[in-house]
C-alpha cells in the first residue's frame, strides 16, 4: 500500500511548508500502523525476518539535502547537474517536484528536452524551470510544433528553448497573442518577429507591463521616433527588459550632460547598458584632461563606444593616453 508521508520544510524565513513526499514508495510499503501490529506481541524477541524495508520516517527538514541520499530521483537530478539548492528556495515548486518519480514522470521530459537543449544544458534548464516536469510532454510537443508552423528553423527553435527555459510553459494561444502584440506595437514584419524572437527569446515571454513601460520611456521620455525605436529594439531587444529608471538615468546623463545626439546613441546602443557610474567617471576624467570631444567631425574625436566597452587599462592607454595609476588617483577624488 502507498503511504503518503508528510514532512515539513522549514526555510530561512521561518515559514513552514508542508511537503508530501510520495516518491519514497520503496520505503513506504509498511505503514506505521502495520509495523505496530507486527511488533505489538513481542518486540524484544529476536527475529529472522528481513527488516531492511523498515526505515524511520523522514523528519521535518530545512532543505532537500536531508532527503537526497534516500531518493533515487533526487540523486539522478543532481547527476544531470540540477541545482537543488536553488529549487528549494521556492517551496511550492519543491512540493510538486517531490511527488514525481524519475522513471515515470521525468524521463520522457528529459529525453524530449535533450533534443532541443543538449545534455550539458538540461541541468541548467531544469534548475531555472523545474515545473516543466509537471507539464505533459504532448503539450510541449504542440508548442514546439506551433513554432515550426510559424516558420522557425530547427536551430532557431533550439536557441529559443535553450535561452528561455520558460518558453515551453506558455500555451500557444498566449504565445500567439504576444507575437501579435510585438508585431503590432513595433510594426514588425514576419521575418523581423522571427529575428527578434531568436535574438532575445526572453522578451516575448517577459512581463508585458514592463515592456510597455519601457516602450513609453523610449518613445515619450527619451524622444525616439517609431522607426528609431524599432531599430533599437531589433538591435538590442534587451532594452525593453532593463529597469526603466536606470535606463532613463543613463540616457539623461549621456544625452543631456555629455551632449550625445539621438543619432549617435542609435548607432551605439551599447552605451545604454553600461552602468552609469562607469560612464560618468570616464567622462569626468576626459573632461579634466580636456579630451572630452565626441564630435566625429572635429579633431581628437573620441568614440562613445570606447567609453563603454574597453577595460580601464585599454581606456587609459588608447583613449585618455595616460597611465592607469593616474586614472585611479582621479577616481579617488570623486
Amino acid at each position: 500500500m502507498m503511504a503518503l508521508k508528510s514532512a515539513y520544510l522549514c526555510f530561512g524565513n521561518k515559514q513552514v511548508f508542508k511537503i508530501i513526499c510520495s516518491q519514497y514508495a520503496k520505503y513506504s510499503n509498511v505503514s506505521a500502523l502495520s509495523v505496530k501490529q507486527t511488533f505489538s506481541e513481542n518486540v524484544l524477541e529476536t527475529t529472522s525476518e528481513d527488516l531492511s524495508h523498515i526505515t524511520p520516517y523522514f523528519s521535518n527538514t530545512f532543505n532537500l539535502a536531508a532527503y537526497v541520499n534516500n531518493s533515487e530521483t533526487l540523486k539522478k537530478l543532481v547527476d544531470i547537474n540540477v541545482d537543488l539548492s536553488k529549487i528549494e528556495k521556492k517551496p511550492h515548486i519543491v512540493n510538486k517536484i517531490l511527488k514525481l518519480d524519475f522513471e515515470k514522470h521525468m524521463k520522457e521530459h528529459i529525453i524530449f528536452l535533450n533534443d532541443y537543449v543538449g545534455l550539458d544544458e538540461v541541468g541548467n534548464f531544469l534548475t531555472k524551470n523545474p515545473l516543466i516536469l509537471c507539464e505533459p510532454v504532448q503539450d510541449l510537443q504542440v508548442r514546439v510544433n506551433y513554432l515550426e508552423s510559424k516558420g522557425f528553423q530547427n536551430d532557431q527553435i533550439k536557441r529559443i528553448i535553450t535561452r528561455n527555459p520558460f518558453w515551453l510553459m506558455f500555451n500557444t494561444v498566449r504565445i500567439d497573442r504576444r507575437f501579435g502584440y510585438f508585431q503590432k506595437s513595433l510594426q514588425l514584419t514576419g521575418n523581423e518577429v522571427r529575428h527578434l524572437t531568436t535574438k532575445q527569446p526572453k522578451l516575448i515571454t517577459y512581463n508585458l507591463h514592463h515592456v510597455k513601460c519601457n516602450m513609453f520611456v523610449l518613445k515619450e521620455e527619451m524622444g525616439f521616433e517609431d522607426k528609431e525605436m524599432k531599430d533599437l529594439t531589433l538591435n538590442k531587444p534587451k532594452l525593453l527588459m532593463i529597469n526603466q529608471r536606470h535606463l532613463l538615468e543613463r540616457f539623461n546623463y549621456i544625452h543631456n550632460i555629455m551632449q550625445i545626439s539621438h543619432k549617435t546613441i542609435l548607432k551605439y546602443p551599447e552605451v545604454l547598458f553600461c552602468r552609469n557610474f562607469k560612464i560618468k567617471q570616464r567622462h569626468q576624467f576626459l573632461l579634466k584632461l580636456g579630451r572630452a570631444q565626441y564630435d566625429p567631425k572635429k579633431e581628437n574625436f573620441i568614440s562613445i563606444k570606447s567609453l563603454v566597452l574597453d577595460t580601464d587599462a585599454e581606456f587609459c592607454n588608447n583613449i585618455a593616453k595616460c597611465s592607469v595609476s593616474d586614472f585611479n588617483l582621479f577616481l579617488k577624488t570623486l
Partner: protein, 306 residues
C-alpha cells in the same frame, strides 16, 4: 599579490581590517554587501572542499550485510548550496560615512570586526575635503536640496574666507577647553593639553581640530577639515554657516574623506578592486600599519567630558 590555492586557506586568512574607497551615492550597507558577495564569489571559484563520503549499510537484515562507502549527495554544492555564503562573512564598519560622502572607509572582516570597534572607540581624527559653492543656499545645505536663497559672491576674497575659517577653528579650540571645565590659563589645562588631542568623551559631540581653505576659485571653494565625531550633515551645515558669515550664501557640493587615523587614500581600494586577491593584499597592509602604530587602537589622550 597573494595567490590562494584553496578556498579554505583563503577563508582562514580573511581576518582583519580593510580600507576601501566608498564612492558617493552608494550607502555603506551596500558597500558591505558588495564586498561580501564578491568574497563569496571568489572563494567559491577557488578549489573548494571535495564532497564527503558516507557509509551505508545495505542488504537484508537476516543475512550478512554490506558496508559501503558512497559519495554523500547531501554534501554536494548542487544540493546544499555554495560552500561560502553571505552568512559566513562578518563585516562591520569602523566609522560611518554618509550616503553622499565618499572616501576612506574602514571595514572589519570576520575577526577584524573587533578591531573596528576598538578603532572607533579610539576616535581617530578624520580629514575631509569639503567642496562648497557660493551664491546659493539650499534647504538641505547640499546640492540636491531645494534652493531657498540666492546671493552675490563677488565681494568674497581668499583673505575673507581664510579669516572666517580661522575664526571657526579658534572658537572650536576654545570650546574644547571650555567644555573641559578648566580655567584657560591654569597649569592643569596645560597638562591636559600636553597629553595629546583633547577628545570628546561621547561619540555625539563633533569637534573640529583644524579647518583651512585649500582652494578658492569663486564660486567654488574647498575646505580641508580635521575632526572627530563629525557626520555628513554637520559638515554641510558648516559650509552653510561659512556662507552666512561671509555675507553671502553657500551650499556643499561634495564631501570626501581623505584620511582616517593613519589610513589614507593611497591605501584605499577602489570599487573595481573589491576582489579577493586585492582585499587580502590590502588586509596585510592594514595589519602592518596597525602594528607600526599601536596608538591607533589605544590612543593616549585627554578625554573631554561634556
Amino acid at each position: 599579490m597573494v595567490q590562494f590555492k584553496h578556498a579554505a586557506s583563503a577563508y582562514k586568512s580573511l581576518n582583519g581590517l580593510i580600507c576601501v574607497y566608498k564612492p558617493p551615492c552608494v550607502p555603506v550597507k551596500q558597500v558591505q554587501h558588495i564586498i561580501k558577495t564578491n568574497l563569496c564569489r571568489d572563494l567559491n571559484a577557488l578549489p573548494v572542499r571535495p564532497r564527503e563520503q558516507r557509509i551505508e549499510i545495505e542488504g537484508a537484515t537476516n543475512e550478512p550485510m554490506i558496508v559501503k562507502l558512497v559519495p554523500n549527495y547531501a554534501d554536494d554544492p548542487l544540493v546544499c548550496g555554495p560552500r561560502y555564503i553571505h552568512e559566513d562573512i562578518r563585516c562591520s564598519w569602523a566609522t560611518h560615512l554618509g550616503l553622499f560622502s565618499s572616501g576612506v572607509l574602514l571595514l572589519g572582516i570576520n575577526e577584524g570586526t573587533r578591531l573596528t570597534y576598538k578603532i572607533n572607540m579610539g576616535r581617530p581624527t578624520r580629514a575631509f575635503k569639503v567642496h562648497g559653492q557660493l551664491g546659493k543656499a539650499t534647504d538641505t545645505y547640499f546640492w540636491n536640496g531645494k534652493t531657498v536663497e540666492r546671493s552675490t559672491y563677488h565681494h568674497i576674497t581668499r583673505e575673507k574666507i581664510d579669516s572666517v575659517v580661522a575664526h571657526i577653528q579658534a572658537s572650536h579650540q576654545k570650546t574644547m577647553f571650555e567644555m573641559s571645565g578648566l580655567h584657560m590659563e591654569s597649569q592643569t589645562t596645560y597638562e591636559l593639553a600636553a597629553q595629546g588631542l583633547i577628545r570628546p568623551a561621547s561619540s555625539k559631540l563633533p569637534v573640529i581640530y583644524g579647518i583651512k581653505c585649500v582652494d578658492f576659485k569663486p564660486p567654488n571653494f574647498t575646505l580641508e577639515i580635521q575632526s572627530v565625531n563629525e557626520y555628513e550633515k554637520y559638515l554641510w551645515t558648516l559650509v552653510h554657516d561659512i556662507g552666512v558669515q561671509l555675507r553671502s550664501t553657500a551650499h556643499c557640493i561634495g564631501v570626501n574623506c581623505i584620511r582616517q587615523g593613519k589610513f589614507d587614500l593611497e591605501l584605499a581600494l577602489l570599487r573595481k578592486h573589491w576582489q579577493l586577491e586585492y582585499i587580502a593584499d590590502n588586509m596585510n597592509q592594514c595589519s602592518q600599519l596597525l602594528e607600526e602604530n599601536e596608538h591607533l587602537l589605544q590612543p593616549e589622550s585627554a578625554v573631554l567630558t561634556a
